[in-house]
């Protein structure tokens, strides 16, 4: 049997045309692959460029005074201590408020309302909130906590960050709880455990790594948020840990300093940017590399 007899389509019968066509297809394939490699290389180059810029401009500005002095007027050798502490406080409190709520919502979606209409609505809204512009969360908290109570406050910043934390924790909690085999739950129910104890003692334990990953990613996300804090905790150039006063934060301070005309402020902004980026990336890497394989 000849090759031509086996061929289903017409044009390929001519050996010369077939050769040309095959060469053309391979050429197109190679070209597309090359472009894809170039696109990926470009993505990696962008990341490298950002990290290199931060290292280049940030390391030279980094010194002990950044961690030991609070923000001062330009030219007087200030640091970022109040901004760093303010950021830590607001991120921690925000995560502490948002995590239990997100955990309960995730539990509700996975254990109580997998297919109910209310469950689907909650899942949909939570997913939309996950990508909603964070500046709007800031405006929202401004209208409910800042305007009525007559001033910017640390707690308003914490609440804004908590609103951002919730949908992130919801997503990972639900996904992780859904991975737990039904048999595990059935085994616990069979020895007489009530449903809530099954969830708390069995499901949460089995999904602990995954849930912790979600919380870490949420912390990493809100640690760098600037826009929601502009309208809530505002920023404070003095040392203050009062939850009812405006509170300083690293991203807002970076924003104010980077756009200023003073060289020492711009340098401090780079130092702050270096700290926050490597902090956030480190949290991400810990969450992905250390916790994920066991989840």
């Amino acid at each position: 049997m000849s090759a031509a007899a086996l061929s289903l389509t017409g044009p390929a019968r001519d050996a010369r045309v077939a050769g040309l066509l095959s060469r053309r297809r391979k050429l197109v394939d190679g070209l597309v692959k090359l472009l894809c490699i170039a696109a990926t290389a470009m993505g990696l180059a962008l990341l490298a460029s950002i990290l290199f810029t931060l290292l280049f401009r940030g390391v030279s500005a980094l010194g002990l005074h950044v961690f030991t002095d609070i923000t001062r007027p330009p030219g007087s050798n200030g640091g970022l201590l109040n901004a760093i502490v303010g950021s830590l406080v607001q991120t921690m409190v925000g995560a502490a408020i948002g995590t239990p709520i997100g955990l309960m919502v995730g539990t509700y979606l996975s254990e109580y309302a997998r297919t109910s209409a209310l469950g689907n609505a909650v899942r949909f809204v939570s997913d939309v909130l996950l990508s909603a512009p964070s500046i709007l969360i800031g405006l929202f908290v401004y209208t409910i906590l800042v305007e009525p109570f007559g001033g910017f406050s640390g707690i308003a910043g914490c609440v804004a960050l908590a609103v951002i934390v919730v949908p992130i924790v919801v997503r990972t909690t639900e996904d992780m709880l859904r991975l737990i085999p039904t048999e595990l739950r059935e085994a616990a129910v069979a020895v007489g455990a009530p449903k809530w104890r099954v969830i708390v003692l069995i499901c949460y334990r089995a999904a602990l790594d995954g849930i912790a990953t979600g919380v870490l990613l949420a912390v990493a996300r809100v640690a760098g948020e600037t826009a929601p804090l502009l309208f809530t905790s505002l920023g404070n150039l003095n040392w203050s840990l009062s939850m009812t006063q405006p509170m300083s934060s690293l991203p807002v301070t970076i924003y104010q300093y980077a756009g200023s005309a003073f060289d020492d402020w711009v340098d401090l902004a780079w130092a702050g940017a270096l700290l926050i980026t490597f902090g956030v990336l480190a949290l991400n890497i810990v969450a992905r590399v250390v916790l994920r394989p066991r989840a």
Binding site: C36, R57, M104, V125, S131, P133, L136, P194
Partner: protein
């Protein structure tokens, strides 16, 4: 699972167990309802906050291009224009690159290479927005102003129809630079979504295509993309949703001028950037603040629609 074997078993009374169950179920459902209330509260609070402005300016608020705190006349025309233009331009730049990255990560890269490269691309999404702003302002803006924009003016500025887009003073800041930074920021989101949906294509489909002699690109074009089309569009919409509401990065590089220009190099603003910039200079209760909240309401409606479509398209296909 040794954890499970040591489950502390205390035979509680049936009544106590039932109460515990009801309480826990109630707490879980309340948390769920709270999420719905949260969304409702965001919409209502922005609408109420923006109401004085909607009442004062009516529907023309949407297209009015004035932003005049002295005369107390405000309109959303320029920021809405800037938001849409930068977001769409960002998509035009980001989608082909994100597709290339997703294609590379699912079909081309050697197996051991996929995870580290994929993680690196995802890390690009984790970099805070304000860092993109600084990087854009100190690194990209000079490059755009010194090289890219003069080059584009030379090459394309004299063309009929589209030439006007590439004329004007090359300051480096402006709509095009903002779109470029936005593109870099949404590439990882789109690429990660595309990679995940490309991976859902059953191997047997691809193997059949390879079996009849298809090249990798032909498998991609004829099998993978048609199979995942809805989800791919969903991923793109997700990126669009992100681009519409991005604040800090855009504020740094867009030039912040309330003017509609015909050139892509011209300065402009977006809803998010004007809110971030004008907010500190607005008195509580003023018409200006109300207009900013009204802008927030408009942005919320636009991004809600985009994100809702994205979620509907990204729903896992029912088996």
């Amino acid at each position: 699972m040794s954890d499970v074997a040591v489950l502390p078993f205390r035979p509680a009374s049936r009544r106590a167990a039932a109460f515990g169950d009801r309480l826990f179920a109630f707490l879980a459902m309340s948390a769920g309802v709270l999420v719905l209330v949260l969304l409702g509260a965001i919409i209502v609070s922005l609408f109420i906050g923006g109401w004085p402005s909607f009442r004062a300016f009516g529907l023309p608020f949407l297209v009015n291009t004035d932003w005049d705190p002295v005369q107390n006349v405000f309109g959303a025309g320029v920021p809405v224009f800037g938001t849409l233009v930068t977001a769409v331009l960002a998509l035009l730049i980001a989608v082909p690159l994100a597709f290339g990255i997703a294609f590379y990560l699912t079909e081309i890269a050697p197996g051991w290479f996929r995870r580290p490269v994929g993680t690196a691309i995802e890390l690009l999404a984790a970099v805070p927005s304000i860092i993109y702003g600084m990087w854009g302002f100190f690194v990209i803006v000079p490059i755009m102003g010194d090289y890219v924009e003069p080059f584009l003016t030379d090459q394309l500025g004299d063309l009929p129809v589209i030439g006007g887009l590439f004329q004007g003073a090359p300051f480096g800041t402006g709509l095009l630079t903002a779109a470029l930074i936005l593109a870099v920021m949404i590439i990882p989101f789109i690429a990660a979504t595309m990679r995940d949906v490309f991976n859902t294509v059953p191997a047997v489909f691809k193997e059949s295509a390879y079996g009849v002699g298809c090249t990798t690109w032909e498998v991609m074009r004829s099998i993978v993309v048609p199979y995942t089309r809805a989800s791919v569009v969903g991923g793109i919409m997700l990126g669009l949703g992100r681009a519409l509401g991005e604040t800090m990065a855009v504020t740094f590089v867009i030039g912040n001028t309330n003017r509609i220009t015909t050139s892509l190099f011209g300065p402009g603003n977006t809803i998010a950037s004007i809110v971030a910039l004008e907010f500190p200079e607005s008195q509580a209760g003023s018409l200006k603040l109300s207009s900013l909240l009204a802008l927030g309401f408009i942005l919320f409606v636009i991004s809600f629609i985009v994100l809702a479509i994205s979620r509907l398209l990204l729903r896992p296909r029912s088996a």
